[in-house]
Point group: C2
Chain length 122, copies 2
Amino acid sequence: MKALVLVAHGSRRKQSNEEVVELAIKLKQHCNNEYDMVHAGFLELASPSIPEGIQNCIDAGATQVTVLPYFLNSGRHVVEDIPNEVNQARANNPKSDIKIAQHLGASELMMDLLIRSASIVR
Amino acid sequence: MKALVLVAHGSRRKQSNEEVVELAIKLKQHCNNEYDMVHAGFLELASPSIPEGIQNCIDAGATQVTVLPYFLNSGRHVVEDIPNEVNQARANNPKSDIKIAQHLGASELMMDLLIRSASIVR
């Protein structure tokens, strides 16, 4: 079984964290054939943590887990902190295949998204 | 003349701010026909500020300025802080047409971006 863990920074603002959980649910609906489950995980300030989010998937039967950083910039969080958290999960689950996908900001589709967003003004 | 101001949070990490400036330059290349100029602006911790970024465009001849929030979540920054900064620029430039576009996270293309990003693993 394949799982996706959408990883966000986490916020003191409860609503921001709920937005990420809702996005994970919506993402599951959109990639039904690709992933058997989509969970959220947070680097800081909210739960589940990244290792917990990954563990939730593995406990539910996932053998392949892809961690998707919901981050725009390739800062320390993307380059160091998320890989460190993922390594914890790998150590706990040596038989599972746990990968990190490219962070959102690196996508080739970003230009289209920016140009489209700019055209929708209030 | 039409201008776009790509607004990011701003970081203590110089490289993150430079990424935003580079993204603004790249965006200009991709929307050459749509906008005559694309500048960056920062809410905090980096310059130019949002009013300065808007002013740079107006001083360079822009009569229409669209502010594009490079933010994933609809938090306080998107809902309150950026509009407050934009209102400062409006007060300073009553004849200019200054609009705020939807923030990146609200885009209908976000699902595609997430699914595509998830497929590119390290």
